[in-house]
Amino acid sequence: MKTRIFSTCLAVAAATMLLFTAQTSRAAELKGQLEIFSWWAGDEGPALQALIDMYNKQHPGVTVVNATVTGGSGVNAKAVLKTRMLGGEPPDSFQVHAGQELIGTWVKADRMEDLTPLFKEQGWMKSFPDGLVKNIGTADGIWSVPVNIHRSNVLWYIPANLDKWGVKAPASWDDFFAIAPTLKEKGIVPLALAENWTANHLWESVALASLGADNWDALWSGKLAFDSPEGVKAWELFGKVLAFTNNDATSLSWQQATDMVVDGRAAFNIMGDWAAGYMSTTKKMAPGSGFGWAASPGTGGQFIFLADSFGLPKGVKNRDNALAWLVLLGSREGSDAFNPLKGSISARVDTDLTKYNDYAKSASADFGKDRIVGSLAHGVTANEGFMSDFAAVMEMYLKSRNAQATAKAAQQIAVKNGIGK
């Protein structure tokens, strides 16, 4: 048995080395197809298209098939991808949230190729921040190339409205609780909330504020139990925050919650920084003067990140083409072509900031100096089994508002899904 493993490793290593040397020397003569699978459409379509255009220019012999699947909060894309992988038809490269969403589902099932050689060859070990590489890899390898970074813990508001109401963006939840009742009296919703996944999104900002970054990390490494006193406290704080949200949340999309802030029906909204893209592109508002932002209360100096990344499944039809795609994604040019359009920031440390808007510049600066932690709601810290069960636990909390019982349930699903193992 041992010898077999050893010989396979040897064979794989040899094959990869061969392929990589071959790949660099033959880069110009790639032919055939490249099928890339993603859930980017609509407003995010142009960003992906920019990358595809660059790829076409570099490798005119390759026809790029853009297999985008959207809708259903990303579940449709998962259904199609999983059906194809189980059916033995993997796309050449697919989009996946970096972190446990990739590792827990695909790496543990041994469906991905280790990209460490590619990272070494391209000198990416130094191009990407250490914390990020740690998050997209395991002890056995690095499994995907990150294309962008989004921040989850951002508080959005309209500066003109806040002046009118005589309040300031709260730096902590206590600040928020001080101003929220006044806002409520004026008939303004203090914090706009939308459908269920945004409740998970809000929870991670609140929980990080309550737990602190060290305990947050301890939660996901299995060192801190969800039903510990600290964990229960996070749910209690979350309950207090929920009291100041709109009661029709579950029937709104996240954009409609953002609209509430834009229209002055609500004061604040906690949402990922794709909201900046929505407000500047669709709503034509200027970052800074038209809309303002701050780290969500109590999380100043901390950066909850999520990243989209692309991996290389085992046994794909056009491996060379896929490798060339990954090289483009990780490159500075590719990253700086994609991210300004997507409304995200580059994962690379040497990004060309002149191409980005004011929000992205400030986010980039924060990413460089803040404490980086992973997002739960967007697949970094926990595997898909936990995320799916957590949605049910959240549902239970929204119905019962019982912090103790919810924390217990969260611990149960953590054990069931092997968090920290």
């Binding site: 980017w40 407003d43 449709n76 189980l86 059916g87 893209g277």
Partner: protein, 274 residues
Amino acid sequence: MRLRLSFTTVALYGVLALLALGYLLPAYLTIITALKLPADISLPQSWQLPPTLNYASFTDAFTLLRPNIVNSVILTVSATLLSTVLGSLNGYVFSKWKFPGSELIFTLFLFGMFIPYQVILIPLFQTLRAMNLYGGLPGLILAHVVYGLPITTLIFRNFYAQIPDALMESASLDGAGFFRTYTRIIFPLSIPGFVVTSLWQFTQIWNEFLWGICLTRHTSYPITVGLAQLAGGQAVSWNLPMAGSILAALPVLLIYIVLGRYFIRGLLAGSVKE
């Protein structure tokens, strides 16, 4: 007497008009949203007429959806045709050529109607791939034909049950066999049945989404998938999907308006007396 009659007439028209208004509200909402600029779309203003008309939504949506529309037409027409013809033949056998066990087989057919599509997604994918049918329209057509069979068979069986057996017997006395009886006697009488089943199948297949997205590659995506792509993404400009959904609904809507009368006639011929 006259007064009372006119009162009921007024009441009747009043109720009908009110209901019609209610039924049309969603259509109104779709159309005005499609004509708005993305920045003008927000919930409190959803009923107001667009401040500036934005016809570009329709041309943009059409450019994006054109390949999907072509796919959907091919898919829907061929799958509808195949499943209705097969259903008609099955109905003919189940109603006029009963054999021991045919009732049981018919009942087993019926259960096929109740399979939720997502339940059999994985085996369906694997089977189609093994048959080399994954990725294109033929596989999708096959799937829709198979899962359309129960309902088309049911409708045709009930439809043929009313054709008097005497007609069959006289045909058999004339020496007409199985297929000749079908083509000479049964088929010419089946037009209303075909209208009903085709309309049903056309609607179902045209509007089906999950298989469309899972069983085909992007070049073969049907219209519903194209539409979902328009409405996908993190920030949606709602005018586009709304315009797209009007485009997507048009062909089916047209068929309903044109065939509406025949539809009722077909239903009348098909399922009333059983």
